[in-house]
């Protein structure tokens, strides 16, 4: 039995009037089907049911008004899939079409992870860092309640395909595959029509589940410097472990030496020989700090619009999924096209201004850090850039970088937001003259019009080589990046195409 309540069709809506019932008592209604027409202010909106079943009762007559949240109808579950009734009596909000993230959250709040008992080890497994920027990496065998409200879209993403009466919509192929792999369909978000789970959804879920253990290990190793969120997110999706292995195998110890060869610790010291990569990092970072006089500029970006845009893209099912880091990369690329003196390097007796905008994306890998390069970034629109960045992150996972992938960057971005780092300063990656360090996107107190409010913010810090860049120039560039992120809709356009 599901209560249908007066939906909130606007942030400012307090009550609504029933104009017309589109279903009568006794009629059957499917989730997504039009149920009622509601008037609020001077707008008349069709509203869809988010529950399937038989309309048991219409509590309000046409022409009557009720406050948002009031029960207006009752739907008796009677699913085609023979699912059990919900039994929790949770109110079901009618949904104006696609569920907004905020509403999806209420749906997602009823997890029933059957694995909790079948996979006892899962409980002792270290929890991966909150994946604010990688909501897709929802742990399959999670026994904790979903407690990451920081990213509104996470709720959308985590929305399982279960309807309110407990039935799960899935294709027969998806059902058999899920059974074979031991994945509970209730934990999978369906991307098919009306949230139906497809075979691909099950495959994706399997891959996500497989990659998590290595996530936890990598994160710790990588904490020395920046890496893009995509790496962690993609790693989760491209792991090769079976879900059973991923879920039940004990996670690797987060000590960097755990997997390393090395002499037993006789005196409490264990020597870990440098890998080639660590040696390279050590040399380059020392050179950088020794030769390039660094200075740092920090600003806080108002991310409300970016959060909204990302949620919109998400709710529209835009592929590839766009992360905040993609937006940062795009904003930097656009800004660099207008600030040649930042897209530059020190060359002993000259400053070289570089025509191409090639972005280095600091990316965590198993044993350290790589900076794959997204070349010609200023010519890409946001979605193309996201696709290219994802491809690079995939290569980071598979170790398939060629030297071309790793050379020629003119500017770098390092993002530690997924580790809940508020802000940090990055070391320049020579010979580049600047690098941007990106912190977490979170709701924080902000001052607006002289009053305290809550807003989504993100701190960004630009490290500059003072031989090339002076404070005022760096400041102007940083302000430009900030402005672009605060007006993120323009990021969807290719840099040159804005004026049409």
């Amino acid at each position: 039995m599901a209560d249908v309540t007066m939906p909130r069709l606007s942030d400012t809506m307090e009550e609504g009037k029933i104009l017309r019932w589109l279903k009568r008592a006794g009629e059957r209604v499917e989730a997504g089907e039009l149920l009622v027409e509601v008037e609020t202010d001077k707008a008349d909106m069709e509203v869809e049911s988010s529950a399937s079943g038989v309309v048991k009762e219409l509590r309000l007559a046409e022409g009557e008004t009720a406050a948002v949240g009031t029960v207006i109808a009752v739907i008796e579950a009677g699913g085609t899939g023979g699912g059990a009734p919900a039994g929790n009596g949770a109110p079901v909000e009618t949904s104006p079409g696609v569920m907004p993230a905020a509403k999806a959250a209420t749906v997602a709040a009823a997890p029933a992870p059957r694995e909790a008992s079948s996979s006892p080890k899962a409980a002792s497994k270290p929890t991966p860092s909150p994946a604010t920027t990688a909501p897709k990496a929802e742990p399959r065998a999670s026994v904790r309640p979903r407690t990451s409200p920081s990213a509104p879209s996470a709720a959308t993403s985590a929305r399982p395909a279960a309807t309110h009466n407990g039935e799960v919509k899935a294709s027969p192929l998806a059902r058999s595959l899920a059974e074979e792999l031991g994945i509970d369909l209730a934990t999978i978000r369906g991307t098919g029509p009306a949230g139906r789970i497809t075979r691909r959804d099950v495959e994706d879920a399997q891959q996500r589940a497989g990659g998590r253990a290595s996530d936890a290990a990598t994160s710790t190793v990588a904490a020395g410097d920046g890496h893009a969120d995509d790496a962690a997110a993609r790693r989760g999706e491209t792991g090769h472990k079976s879900p059973r292995a991923g879920a039940s195998e004990p996670a690797r110890t987060p000590s960097p030496s755990a997997d390393e060869p090395g002499a037993p610790a006789a005196d409490g010291i264990r020597r870990v020989p440098l890998t080639k990569m660590r040696a390279s990092i050590a040399k380059r970072m020392s050179d950088s700090k020794r030769e390039a006089p660094h200075f740092y500029l920090t600003t806080v970006v108002d991310m409300d619009e970016a959060v909204r845009l990302r949620a919109q893209l998400k709710s529209l099912g835009v592929e590839p999924a766009v992360t905040y880091n993609h937006m940062v990369l795009k904003a930097c690329a656009d800004a660099l096209a207008h600030f040649p003196e930042i897209n530059a390097r020190f060359a002993g007796d000259a400053i070289e201004l570089l025509e191409a905008v090639n972005l280095g994306i600091a990316t965590a890998v198993d044993d350290g850090l790589l900076v794959p390069v997204l070349s010609g970034a200023d010519r890409l629109d946001l979605l193309s850039l996201a696709a290219r960045a994802r491809a690079l992150a995939d290569k980071a996972e598979s170790g398939g970088f060629t030297s071309a992938d790793l050379s020629g960057a003119t500017f770098s971005v390092s993002n530690l937001g997924m580790f809940d780092v508020d802000s940090f300063s990055a070391v320049l990656n020579p010979p580049q003259a600047a690098i941007l360090a990106v912190g977490s996107v979170k709701q924080r107190p902000v001052v607006r019009d002289g009053a305290l409010a809550v807003g989504w913010t993100m701190s960004i810090t630009l490290s500059c080589d003072h031989r090339v860049i002076d404070g005022a120039r760096g400041g102007r560039f940083l302000a430009d990046v900030k402005r672009r992120l605060e007006n993120p809709a323009a990021l969807l356009l290719p840099s040159g195409g804005a004026s049409e």
């Binding site: 069709l9 606007s10 027409e37 609020t40 001077k42 008349d44 909106m45 672009r484 049409e500």
Partner: protein, 269 residues
Amino acid sequence: MSSAALTTGAAGDVLPGAALAGEGIPSRWLGRLAFAPALALQEDLRRRHASVGDVVLLLEHEPVYTTGRGGRPENLGRVAADPAIPFERIGRGGDVTYHGPGQLVGYALVDLRMRDRDVHRFLRQMETGVIWTLQALGVRATRWPGRTGVWVVDRGTGVESVAAEPTDVAHLDDHDMQLGRIRKIASLGVGVRGGVTMHGFALNVALDLAPFAAIVPCGLAGVHMTTVEREAARPVRSVRDVAMLAARHVGRALAWPYPHKAAFGEVSS
């Protein structure tokens, strides 16, 4: 006029009417049109929205009374008295109103799913666009919180700006409205079908207000309707000229935050 406006143009031009130069959401000028064909046109564009995209239709109607689905019978007054003016009950919000020559009607077919599905915000944006249009005509107009639409206030009531911030009219009440201290110059009413908005606003430019006397406009007893012609310091322009201003201002107001290229050109120029 009407049948020509209904034919879709040359190959490649999937929209009816003539394009107007504007900002944000593109606008089309349809000329003068009876109510029924205009409604059919809206329905068509709504169904084809996925391929056609957001659009604002600007037009003048032949005389007609319309009311929303929730419009109250007691407000209809004598709509049946004049056989020359037909009456239609339609799928929009709001109560009874009158459309006729001399009034600019704007129908917005806009994807509300791209706008957080926030229908109130959409109404506020539309009001803002109408206020900007009026500003360009030299008419100071404002919102009046709780009474959707666009209003004009007497000097001396403390309202000295056309700012969309309506705080300075908050003290006015029904009594002020009945005395004509605050007058309605534009009415709004929208419907949302399949996530896409329909209907929109009606801005009185230079029309005969007499047909309003037969009804309780918008269900507001004692409301004074007014026109640009009455309120503007300058001579009023044709409805088509006002449409050209609306193409810019309403198009711009409705575009946010959807990334229409023209609307955001200044950001990444």
